[in-house]
Amino acid sequence: MSRARRRGRGPGFRRNRNPLTWLLRHAQMSLSALGRLAGSPLSTAMTAAVIGIAIALPSGLYLLIDNVRQLTGNWDGGSSISLFLQQSLDEKQARAVRDLIAQRRDVAEARLITRKQALEEFRRRSGFGEALDLLDHNPLPAVVLVRPTRVNSSARATERLAETLKQYREIDLVRVDLQWVRRLEAITHTLERGVMILAGLLSAAVLLIVGNTIRLEIQGRHHEIEVIKLVGGTDAFIRRPFLYEGVWYGLLGALIAIGLVIGGLGLMQGPVQRLAGLYQSAFSLDILTSGTFLAVLAGGPMLGLGGAWLAVGRHLARIQPE
């Protein structure tokens, strides 16, 4: 008040600064905005559905990629290194080598397949059992299967580990099967980038959808806005219900999106498990534990708010009482 007086603008205005009243008014506004949306359920549902689909697409794809990425790390024997030991080593020596390698900090697990076990397995799987019987000695070397720790399971780290292991005298041959790990990594990176672009575009679409809906709403309530300005409603007061409408649209859209994603990935679950089964993996889509849904729940309303801001900022100022 005194500040206004000092600037020579006459006595200042009394403004309501009671936080409780303010909070209560916001609660009322948000509920009445929701009520207005409920008043025209069909158009609200359609707008929310469009928003929902726009959000569901990138978030569903993201979840899918997220799952694949975890797969890259988890696939049984995924980034594993096979160490073929020297033929001359006996079982006790082979065990010692395994123990030595298992102690390394970048190794999560080292499993020894003795020469006898290797022979057994070969006999069982290959169908060349009779042929093996003709040999007078076991031609297969003992093998140590090394699985790097999670942080060291990327293609480059695995290769580095393999280089180190090559130095061991007891090891005849190191084989790293990295080709598919690299490919999978490259594919997930590409897809991730694609999803990012898609998410950006569809977020913009949501902004525009909400913005346009709110713009129509503002036009429809032109007279009401005029009257409110006439009786001393501040811009913030007039803006508020529209912003809340945007938030509700965003939240409804987010809920629909989550429903769509759960439903869609649920439908994929069966085929994915069958596919994984073909690769001897018990992999299944991890839908519910992801933080993606939290992001959607927070992001939806934020996009709605943003869209409403765009419309409100541009159109409310134009309406002035006469």
Binding site: G8, R9, G10, P11, F13, R14, R15, N16, N18, T21, W22, R25, H223, E224, E226, V227, I228, K229, L230, V231, G232, G233, T234, D235, F237, Q320, P321, E322
Partner: protein
């Protein structure tokens, strides 16, 4: 309470609303503005309610220079100036109660205080019992009373009325004017634009006659 210092208003279309008007209205005074349509009556009221801004000169309301009022302060200014229009400007999808409560809701007043004040305003304009009706179901005179109740519910020190009886028959017009006289008696500064000279002259209040954006005649402050 209200002061005009050589105020002119030219609209973007080139039309001249006011062409240099100086006048002063003391707190608690009541005055009528008369003149033909286009004489500048509405423009004068709009400048006070800041529906328009002066292109020249200065307008003072309640010790504030309106020329210097920032846009964000305009709503607060309007809360101190009740405005009544010929076309009522009511919201037809809201009840009489909600229409009258609007200035209080906008100002963030508590629920109970709103109930009390709206009822008091309804009582003043003789519409108690109509609060649940919708404006469309009321007669023209009743709708105008709702508009008046809305203007006075927040107890503004200044009340403006632009042709408030424009659509009403003589009996209703007189009732409305008498209502205004009552408000004035409790201290509200009133400025009413009307072309109904005969009605106004009988009330014996100050009359400011405008022609082509200038004051043609002013009976001066009289009780």
């Amino acid at each position: 309470m209200i002061r005009f210092d050589n105020v002119a208003k030219r609209y973007p279309t080139g039309r001249e609303g006011l062409a240099g008007v100086s006048l002063e209205l003391k707190a608690g005074e009541m005055a009528f503005i008369t003149g033909h349509s286009g004489a500048g009556k509405s423009t004068l009221l709009k400048l006070i309610g800041l529906l328009e801004r002066a292109t020249r000169g200065q307008v003072w309301v309640n010790e504030r220079n309106l020329n210097k009022l920032r846009a964000r302060d305009v709503p607060y200014h309007r809360r101190e100036v009740g405005m009544i229009f010929q076309d009522h400007r009511l919201l037809h999808d809201r009840t009489v109660f909600d229409n009258i409560a609007l200035p209080l809701v906008v100002a963030g007043m508590g629920h109970q205080e709103i109930q009390r004040r709206v009822r008091a305003a309804l009582d003043k304009v003789g519409l108690l019992g109509k609060e649940r009706s919708f404006p469309i179901t009321l007669s023209g005179g009743e709708q105008q009373r709702v508009g008046i109740a809305r203007a006075l519910v927040s107890k503004p020190p200044v009340l403006l009325a632009d042709e408030p009886t424009g659509n009403l028959d003589p009996d209703l017009s007189r009732e409305i004017m008498e209502l205004f006289v009552q408000f004035n008696q409790v201290g509200v500064t009133m400025l009413i634009a009307t072309h109904d000279v005969a009605l106004v002259e009988r009330l014996g209040k100050r009359i400011i006659q405008l022609r082509e954006g200038r004051i043609l005649h002013d009976t001066g402050a009289a009780a």
